[in-house]
Symmetry: C2
């Protein structure tokens, strides 16, 4: 039977690729082949030739270690060549160890470590439901795809998965279908050794539809269950019982999970299938090329629908084109703050965000149950099962899922996405922040409650090392504005980012406005001369965020003693780093070697700019519970203490 | 009725403390007072006078924002004074915003941000079940306490909570009783806005016993359910329906969650109760002092039991005393590696750990489904429902819970605890790592699969910025050994740590042995001269871990050209930082200003020691999927490339 041959071809190609790479995970590739075969030949709507087709079904290979199987499918369908498959897991190939966005055509997102994939899938489904509601009309469904994910036993144990599932169930994201390759074996041995969750009950508790396929080789049953899931009013988990490494000598054990099969076994499998190594029969290709034709047909139909849409709803069509192509341009010059009063940057951020929300109809985001505190809200209510138009998402106390879901939403396309929480909770989101950076997704994070100035909630809620943590992530922007003017400039940077996540660090406490035009114009350079003297400068004081006004106070006090220092505001070290040597030298000239950095947090990154004589006046120990003003004094963050320190340098 | 008066006293004292602090969370303090009253007067076995009594019931205030309520209880029971209560949330008081270990007597652990408390509670219960099995006899139960936690709606939504619950159910930790203050309101509004989980079903799916108290003011029912839970063969969640901020004008809404009540309301509450501000009636004190007497009685009984135990099982008694007092001394000199072969530090770490496990009967730990890969195992099987003596815990793919549970286990006392995963997954554990550091808990982390040398699994599995992340946590030790000798020394440091978590960073790839006696003796100093010349030294090359052998190669090549450099091995920057200025100067003398750091990861922390002319040869971008050796070459981590770079400096 051709179908069985196709499935076995997937299996053999996968283990051959693994054998050639001498690295990979044959267990899932063998066990889950019938699932992937069913998905690729009978379910997924996509166009192998237009891999970024906006209305394609999205697919997340959550169990990313099953990559060889995905690549085998992509080969049969004509997306990647046999040479690509042979180059599995080798340098600069398009077939890396785990599926990666921007590396392989038709890979919608990087799987990341276990737990990320499910959150990403929820993000895809959420994006689809918002956009479908926004753009579809009675006659034209321009956004109406499903989101599929393939996950394994490990994924199911992750907290990020459970948070995501809980939210997806709550929001009734019924076009999300998760295929659970349930083989009862994980890396260290039997799943039963590590968990005894009742999956059905769990999914029902999360308001999901649960379906079971008892025999993972029964492709008919798999298809029946998928079709059923497509009609569900809830997201669906289809638990598919498979045998890990089926066909291998050690099938059903963890021995086949993550190490290549012995060469003889691979050879034997190939022999049973027939043909040369790394080959597939013509009829198998034909079967899969049917997919391609089918995909193209569907794509063309969608193109026609879009034409019709253009004809019937020209305005909507225009907006749709704009969002697809990410062409919303915001003129930040038309924004004005309510007033020039001292205010927390979480408040000035909120003013900007609300204004942006009114300008950009696809700006959507939310907080992990902290919108009253971080003030990250756009106009309108909360996105829900009954209101798909609202653009505030109540993520619940699910920080990790929030960040992962935002990755999915941005990767989906068509949306500008923000999310928000207390800065210290960025710890909870780290795995997903890293993935955003790796995937070059311009997610916007509003992290409020900066530094020990959080105050009474105490050390567990006061960020100390979080600035360092974020600054050290490659391709990740961190901006810590000093006042509302730098805040506005920071939002502009964030909104204009196309390939980088941006974190805006905002204060709980009020901050004086000190930067005005300078802040507005220079935040983009990361650091700039905020205040200077014509006279001989004896030192440079560098500061960011709430410490900029302190730096200015110290400068003033020194001036009274006829000692003159320059104050540099440094809202973003990452941006400053990228400036020309000339610009950097103009801000921090070599000849002025006395330098002091003031930052109410760990400031290790500044050492690059401190030289031999420079010092960091920062915080390297945990905070305490007290009023912010009391704490700042206690930790020496007042101009008198800093002045004393400066003089002792 | 005296009981109602006592409960109202807790409420009024709490809101008075909050009002005085002008900061705090009255909602839970009012709503959950009957629960805490019941716990403190009728359930908890503890001795207010001996707060570290080893066999006390453990209590975790998972919803740490309810701290004022806990402090009110601790006041009535005689642990803290009224002045302490008045000093709520003020600088250096023993009544900080969230309960903190080491700050307030009778506080067993820091609550941390939401989600941590449940994991900690599971850790307490796990420790108890292991120690009870190890030490109790038919006649003497020297370890037999319960673990209680009070959590709120927010806690229930956290992934770390769900991971922990899933594991606790799997392991059948039946002496864990979680009281869920279920008031349907969270910070941003109704819980229903963010979740619709079916709690009962969810808990049953996790193999928990679920009980419901419909009226949170019904202390009898609360007690009945707790008694029932105590007899359960599973861990129990008691969902207790309460009204947030009960008695306040805005009861039942999020307005009373996190902001002090208006002064008039506090006054009115006090008036209704009677008495002066910050006072309690004698009969209320009497009732609570009954607790104290009761606790003392139980404590004395336990002391008698211990005497009996000593008499009947002298050897066990001795071991028990040793573990209580943390007096297991290991003579590391008696350890010898199997051989001197090139080997991965994950392997040498594994040799040491196995040996340590045989020496220290209370060394216990596990991995998040990676023990085959990280090789962090002691002898014997997996800890389970049916085997409470095994010392390997199969945490499942639950990294975050693992780290939180370890905090609970160490904080419990009597155990030396390790846990392990891929280094890149330290991201998943960050919130709990931070708490370990803050609480000064000497948890040992074995993070294997260091740097891009992870190889084929690709960028999502290759740590880049993780060294920086860990190095920036205050009071957190990071050691990245160069070979098996530094590895052994690192384990010694980890085992001897009494107030600091220690992370051991181990390699997947084989590393040459290069440090021998020097590594054994000097790792404790963080950095040391590994190889030097009598002649004039032109530069210092600093390296850690897998790059130390590269540094030596470069040194050799330079020597052939009659250029002489010193090689400093720097397994731990944190430890080096703490050395005397003299020692640091001896290793890194000022006069040698040409310095090169080689590290296959982000090395920002070294800039402190690089001066004007120093350079970091490190990695600030994400990895790729390829063989480790190929990647090292591709990223320029070979002696030729480094030599070129050095010459260009």
């Amino acid at each position: 039977m051709i179908e069985q041959k196709a499935i076995n071809t997937l299996r053999v190609l996968s283990v051959e690729a693994i054998a050639k790479a001498a690295s990979g995970h044959p267990g899932m590739a063998l066990g889950a082949a019938p699932i992937m075969h069913t998905l690729f030949t009978k379910v997924l709507n996509f166009n192998p030739k237009v891999d970024k087709w906006f209305n394609r079904d999205r697919f997340v290979m959550a169990a990313g270690h099953g990559s060889s199987l995905l690549y085998s499918c992509l080969h049969l369908v004509g997306v990647i060549t046999m040479d690509d498959l042979k180059a599995f897991r080798s340098l600069n190939s398009i077939t890396p160890g785990h599926p990666e966005l921007h590396v392989t055509p038709c890979v919608d997102i990087s799987s990341g470590p276990l737990g990320q994939g499910l959150a990403e899938a929820v993000g895809f489904a959420l994006a689809e439901s918002f956009l479908a509601n926004k753009f579809n009309t009675e006659t034209a469904k321009v956004v109406n795809h499903y989101t599929y994910a393939l996950c394994g036993d490990g994924d199911m144990q992750e907290g990020a998965t459970m948070e995501s599932m809980s939210l997806a169930g709550h929001l009734g994201l019924n076009k999300l279908i998760v295929l659970y390759d349930s083989n009862d074996v994980q890396l260290d041995g039997d799943v039963a050794q590590a968990t005894s969750d009742d999956t059905k009950k769990k999914m029902e508790a999360y308001n999901w539809n649960y379906l079971l396929v008892k025999d993972g080789n029964d492709t008919k049953d798999i298809l029946v269950k998928i079709k059923k899931a497509q009609k569900s009013s809830k997201p669906t988990l289809i638990e598919i019982k498979t045998v890990i490494g089926i066909g291998a000598k050690q099938e059903g054990t963890c021995a086949v999970h993550g190490a290549p099969l012995p060469y003889e076994e691979v050879k034997a499998m190939r022999k049973a299938l027939g043909g040369e190594e790394f080959s597939a029969e013509a009829e198998v290709y034909e079967l899969y090329q049917g997919v391609q034709k089918n995909g193209c047909k569907k794509y063309r139909k969608w193109k026609r629908d879009i034409k019709q849409y253009k004809f019937e709803n020209f305005e909507k069509y225009q907006e749709f084109e704009k969002i697809i192509n990410n062409e919303f341009v915001v003129d930040f010059n038309t924004f004005a703050f309510k007033d020039d009063n001292k205010k927390a940057t979480r408040v000035s951020s909120s003013e900007v965000l609300k204004w942006l929300g009114d300008k950009v109809p696809t700006l959507i985001g939310g907080t992990a149950d902290l919108s009253c505190s971080t003030k990250a809200k756009v106009s309108g209510g909360f996105f829900s099962k009954s209101d798909r138009s609202a653009r505030n998402i109540a993520f619940g106390v699910r920080e990790h899922a929030m960040a992962g879901i935002c990755n999915g939403m941005v990767s989906h396309g068509g949306l500008k996405v923000f999310c928000s929480g207390f800065f210290v909770f960025s710890d909870y989101m780290k795995p997903a922040l890293r993935l955003a950076a790796l995937m070059e997704l311009p997610v916007i994070y509003v992290f409020s409650h900066d530094s020990i100035a959080v105050g009474e909630d105490g050390p567990t809620h006061q960020p100390i090392e979080q600035l360092t943590m974020l600054r050290s992530i490659p391709n990740f922007e961190v901006i810590r504005p000093a006042d509302q003017f730098e805040m506005l400039a920071a939002w502009k940077i964030a909104m204009n980012s196309s390939n980088k996540p941006v974190a805006l660090i905002t204060s709980r406490q009020d901050l004086e406005n000190v930067t005005y035009e300078k802040g507005l114009n220079n935040t983009i350079h990361g650091g700039y001369i905020l205040s200077d003297f014509e006279k001989d400068i004896e030192a440079i004081i560098i500061a960011s965020g709430s410490e900029v006004s302190l730096a200015l106070e110290v400068q003033k006090k020194l001036a009274l003693e006829n000692r003159f220092v320059r104050v540099v505001s440094m809202p973003s070290l990452c941006l400053f780093e990228k400036q020309s040597t000339k610009y950097k030298e103009s801000v921090l000239p070599k000849k002025i070697s006395k330098r002091l950095v003031i930052e109410a947090g760990d400031a290790i990154h500044y050492y690059k700019y401190l030289g031999e004589k420079g010092k960091a006046y920062n915080i390297n120990r945990f905070g305490k519970s007290a009023k912010a003003s009391v704490l700042f004094k206690d930790y020496g963050f007042d101009s008198e203490s800093i002045l004393d320190f400066y003089k002792s340098m």
